[in-house]
């Protein structure tokens, strides 16, 4: 870490990786890692403390003893490494890191691989924690082979990526810019200011958009069918609207980043505050169209309309928070989750109308107050 190249690479790539994948890593932490470290099982009064502990550690022990568990652990490590490999490879194509091609490449191959190995290790810190934990617990319970192979496997993955990054910088000059218009098929379509982030999604961010829509619709459909007796209940539809809004956070964050980077020129445009807010409403009405259509199809019209109102107003409010917090992802996610819980509580008390009005007004106030101050 003391070497200037290593410091620069960690700052540019590892930090960028964590910033861009905060949502993904938090999801991984909540869904997988928390259970992996310690699975709390209820009603174990018939077991001794030692047996209870072994049950709680069942997942981690399986990952170093059972073939399926080992396969899943190895697969997880490999997929994470592949994801980081794709991120770094794509990042090395960006204009702001091209200086690495004519600076870092002056060092020997070995020195470059060393620096890249540190970067990869920093990126893989979650894997190191999981792997280290599996190693310790496995050895404590008398499993030796797989736990001892975990560091070897992680080091091999690290070297694999480090050598690949070094090769990318040395062997390939910058690939010629893609000259094809990614939106050639939409050439004739009007592109008003409010719609530009939508086109950006179509041109360069189709996968994040599809994942967001998929996860939003899946969670909404799941909630709807889990409570078959309450499908016309305004509170359930409100909960579904809230869940749909929560699922948009990654998209909202990307919208903010896009506006800051590519729509700076539009700040000189003579649009009044209400027009700018109207443009936001128009954008998110379009982006939320799949969820809106589904809600209106499956529910009674009046309740469906309320759910749509809640979905749209909460999404707008979550978006407007970024004008205050800017690109600080972690506090943003914390705040959004906390607000979601609060809104859920109010919704269960039947205060859906109030939530819609409150969020729409708060979004407008935040938008007007903080957008100009950025």
């Amino acid at each position: 870490m003391k070497r200037p190249l290593t410091r620069a690479l960690v700052k540019i790539l590892a930090t960028g990786f964590y910033r861009q994948h905060t949502g993904f890593l938090l999801t991984l932490l909540v869904l997988f890692f928390s259970s992996f470290f310690y699975t709390k099982v209820l009603n174990q009064t018939h077991l001794t403390p030692a047996q209870q502990q072994q049950t709680a550690l069942k997942l981690v022990l399986s990952s170093v003893s059972e073939p399926l568990g080992v396969f899943l652990l190895v697969g997880l490590f490999w997929l994470y490494t592949l994801k980081s490999r794709h991120y770094v490879a794509a990042r090395l194509q960006a204009a702001d890191v091209q200086f690495l091609r004519y600076s870092s490449t002056a060092l020997s191959w070995g020195r470059q691989v060393q620096s890249w190995s540190v970067v990869q290790l920093v990126i893989a810190i979650p894997l190191l924690i999981v792997g280290g934990y599996a190693l310790l617990i496995g050895m404590a319970y008398g499993y030796w082979l797989v736990p001892l192979l975990i560091p070897v496997y992680l080091l091999a993955l690290t070297y694999w990526n480090a050598a690949y990054y070094t090769h990318l910088l040395q062997a390939h000059p910058l690939a010629p810019a893609v000259t094809a218009n990614p939106l050639a098929w939409l050439r004739g379509w009007p592109k008003p200011l409010f719609s530009l982030f939508g086109y950006e999604l179509l041109a360069y961010q189709r996968v994040p958009y599809a994942v967001t829509k998929g996860s939003a619709l899946a969670s909404m459909v799941l909630l709807f069918y889990v409570f078959p007796d309450a499908q016309a209940d305004q509170r359930l539809l409100g909960l579904i609207g809230l869940t749909g809004a929560l699922a948009q956070v990654v998209l909202l964050y990307q919208a903010h980043a896009f506006e800051r980077s590519y729509l700076r020129f539009a700040r000189n445009f003579p649009y009044a505050g209400w027009q700018q807010y109207g443009q936001e409403v128009a954008l998110y009405s379009v982006l939320l169209l799949p969820e809106i259509v589904w809600l209106l199809i499956v529910s009674p019209f009046r309740e469906g309309l309320l759910a749509v109102g809640l979905l749209l107003s909460v999404t707008l409010f979550f978006r407007s928070l970024l004008y205050r917090l800017d690109q600080r992802m972690t506090p943003y996610l914390r705040l959004v989750f906390a607000l979601f819980m609060g809104f859920l509580f109010l919704d269960l008390f039947g205060l859906t109308h109030l939530l819609i009005m409150g969020n729409a007004v708060a979004a407008g106030v935040f938008f007007y107050r903080y957008r100009e101050q950025e």
């Binding site: 810019a177 592109k191 950025e374």
Partner: protein, 212 residues
Amino acid sequence: MLQLQQFRKTYQRRLVLHIEDFTLPPAVYWLRGSNGSGKSTLLKSLAGIIPYQGDIILEGRWNLRQHAVAYRSAVNFAEAEPIFPTFLTGVELIRLFKAAKKAPAHQEAFYLESMQLSAYVHEPVHTYSSGMLKKLALVLAFLGQPRCILLDEPLTTLDAESLPILYAWITQQHQQHGTLFLLSSHQAFAGGTLPPVQELLVAQQTLQHYRA
């Protein structure tokens, strides 16, 4: 006429610019100053792109805070390093700017023709070189009926053949409409004819008239 009153700009509590009271009658101004002196910051503040403290008033009636729409309708800006959504074509950007600035129909034709941009204006901007992008940004800054045009480093990346064309645009706009120009540059405006240029200096965190 552009007035700055009690103007202050800070970045993370660090004072970058403090201009007590400064009035710029309609003219062509060359904004000088060393790197990091605050030229771009001043131009961005005047364009209404970044926040500031104090008052910026155009023609004695449009305060950027209180009459933001009228002010921004009358003040155009071209960044030193323009960035636009890469999938948009030059034509689509021109349409956006024309709609926002309420530009007359076909106003862009003259600028595109004279700067020889017509050939590639239908291509997406990610295919443009930095010089081509600069020319497009300059065209966009002349659209509408601006009373004030702010050009940050307009000469950077422009080829020698394009300089007299830009000077002719500035001269024509200033003489016909009395438009105020504020041009930041590290190099002198050579290679063409401009109206008399008044020199301003951004130094020691303030704005002053330049004296050689």
